[in-house]
């Protein structure tokens, strides 16, 4: 007969047995005080995010340009990077959004014409509950979370951006994919009246992106409504976009109008334009070079100065622990 005692070596003390509640709370208070600058600016950012992780207060400095979008801390593994945040100005003035021009400064200059209200996202294809979702209803579907992700562009630069949104999986669960659904296709806005470069021969419009269903269901895949504690600025993909932090930036479609569930791998915009350069998966991978540039290193915008060495790019953009198992056994040189 097995008699369980506290002394058999298998029952471990809980964390509250080791550290008194008062000590924990005092520790949090210290972190918050550090965040206000007492401990100096070097530690402030780190402490601020620790405080954020502890009680969900919004730690990101709001730029005060757009409507606030409040969120709670995320407890998804890997959801809060400790890297230094990219300045809001850099993140919103250096963009690839070809519907508004091919130059990095074009989207910030031209995207004011984008009409983001009213906005609906249509769910179609192999789901039990297809239909149109008004943006207002999407915003209420699940609590907003603060997520601080690294963003690695296929061109060799990177940023660290505090997004606001919730896991796409929340929406996918609501619409109930059928058993035959294997892929998710994201169709983005293509309105020649408000987007001056739709119709240019650079790409096939609308811009379409896609994920495997299990990638789309991964908790790090973020249906994104805001950044830096505010709603998305137009050049960043307002009012709703995707952010897939372990893939090159172009996989994260902006200004999404349709989400389609399919049994076939969707044809994605850049893959259609140059299949030998942009694969369907496009996972960040320092070992698979783009034919036009190396992917081994990257320049962190606003941080790595002109003469600084570029930093090493991490496998799956540093999210290998969270997403590596999605690609177990796959030849990533073949499925780039």
């Amino acid at each position: 007969m097995l008699i369980k005692t506290r002394n058999d070596g298998f029952t471990h003390p809980t964390s509250s047995d080791i550290t008194d509640r008062a000590v924990v709370e005092n520790r949090r208070a210290i972190l918050k005080r550090m965040a206000t600058g007492v401990a100096g600016t070097a530690m402030a950012g780190w402490a601020m995010r620790q405080a954020l992780a502890a009680d969900g207060a919004s730690a990101v400095q709001r730029p005060g340009k757009l409507q606030a979008l409040n969120a709670r801390a995320s407890n998804v593994a890997g959801a809060v990077s400790m890297d230094k945040l990219t300045a809001y100005k850099d993140a919103t003035s250096y963009n690839n959004f070809y519907e508004f021009g091919t130059d990095k400064s074009d989207p910030a200059a031209n995207a004011h014409t984008l009409k983001t209200s009213p906005w609906t996202v249509e769910i179609e294809g192999l789901v039990k509950k297809p239909g149109k979702w008004a943006l207002e209803d999407l915003l209420k579907l699940s609590p907003m979370e603060d997520r601080i992700y690294r963003l690695r562009c296929v061109e060799g630069w990177s940023m660290v951006i505090p997004w606001v949104g919730y896991s796409l999986a929340e929406l996918i669960r609501q619409v109930e994919p059928q058993g035959s659904a294997k892929y998710v296709e994201f169709v983005t806005q293509a309105d020649p009246k408000t987007m001056p470069f739709v119709g240019s021969r650079v790409l096939d419009w609308p811009y379409v992106e896609g994920l495997r269903l299990d990638e789309a269901m991964h908790p790090l895949t973020l249906l994104t409504f805001g950044m830096y504690g505010e709603v998305l600025p137009n050049q960043s993909g307002a009012p709703v976009r995707l952010v897939v932090p372990w893939k090159y930036g172009f996989k994260s479609g902006k200004s999404i109008v349709k989400i389609r569930f399919t049994d076939k791998q969707p044809g994605t915009a850049w893959n259609k334009a140059a299949a030998n350069e942009y694969g369907f998966y496009s996972n960040v991978n320092p070992n698979v070079d783009h034919p036009r540039w190396s992917q081994a290193t990257e320049r962190r915008i606003g941080e790595d100065g002109l003469f600084a060495r570029k930093r090493k790019t991490l496998m799956f953009n540093g999210y290998e622990a969270q997403v590596g198992q999605l690609y177990a056994g796959m030849d990533l040189k073949k499925f780039y």
Partner: protein, 219 residues
């Protein structure tokens, strides 16, 4: 006609050369200032790499425009600026190579040596700079005398090859993003400047279609 004479006289004056020299230096002065003042946007390294390349290409267009302008606009005195403008092509091309080696490759010679053959558009650009080097090295009077005019001229016709390589380099770099509008502008300018020379060459050797036709008919 009077204005042309006046302009030619001004071009041969003492002030013209220093002024053109300063004007050709303005882009690099601006780039250094902008880099120091943080006016180059979110990615200053990329901005410097691209603008030095742009200016090398622009200078190439300017120097190749000298001879057509001399002839068409009857401004023979333009010839005295040709060497200086040619050297500015080399100057901006070297800055472009320097920006790539420094900002992109961190002066890692082994990495650069591996990168050049690996990426076709880098190989083409590097070849263009390589071919420009003998032209820059033989630009002074003693080199011209040593080589003899004919051989010197033959060597300096390499610039036509270089112009082609520069456009291919630019095209290939932009091909990754299907973005050819700017490439087309430079290709059109260089095409016009080289096309004018080709036309003149054919006229010189009497290969006009009409003359061939006439010869055929007289038989």
């Amino acid at each position: 006609m009077g204005m042309q004479v006046a302009f030619n006289r001004w071009l041969s004056g003492r002030l013209a050369k220093p002024l053109v020299f300063v004007a050709a230096l303005l882009p690099v002065v601006w780039l250094v200032l902008a880099a120091a003042m943080d006016w180059l946007g979110a990615n200053p390294a990329e901005a410097l790499e691209r603008s030095t390349g742009d200016w090398a290409l622009r200078m190439l267009c300017v120097v190749l425009a000298v001879t057509p302008l001399r002839t068409v606009a009857q401004l023979p005195t333009l010839a005295r600026f040709r060497r200086m403008l040619g050297l500015f092509v080399y100057f901006y091309a070297m800055l472009h190579l320097l920006a790539y080696s420094w900002f992109d490759m961190g002066f890692e010679l082994a990495d650069i040596a591996r990168d050049i053959p690996k990426r076709p558009f880098i190989l083409v650009g590097f070849t263009a700079v390589l071919l420009l080097t003998p032209l820059a090295l033989t630009s002074f009077n003693r080199a011209i005398r040593a080589l003899g005019g004919k051989r010197w001229q033959a060597l300096h016709r390499l610039v036509y090859v270089i112009a082609g390589l520069a456009i291919v380099h630019f095209f290939w770099m932009r091909a990754g993003k299907h973005n050819f509008a700017e490439v087309a502008v430079y290709a059109a300018i260089l095409g016009l400047l080289l096309g004018w020379r080709l036309l003149r060459f054919f006229q010189k050797i009497g290969l006009q279609p009409s003359s061939i036709l006439r010869r055929q008919l007289s038989k």
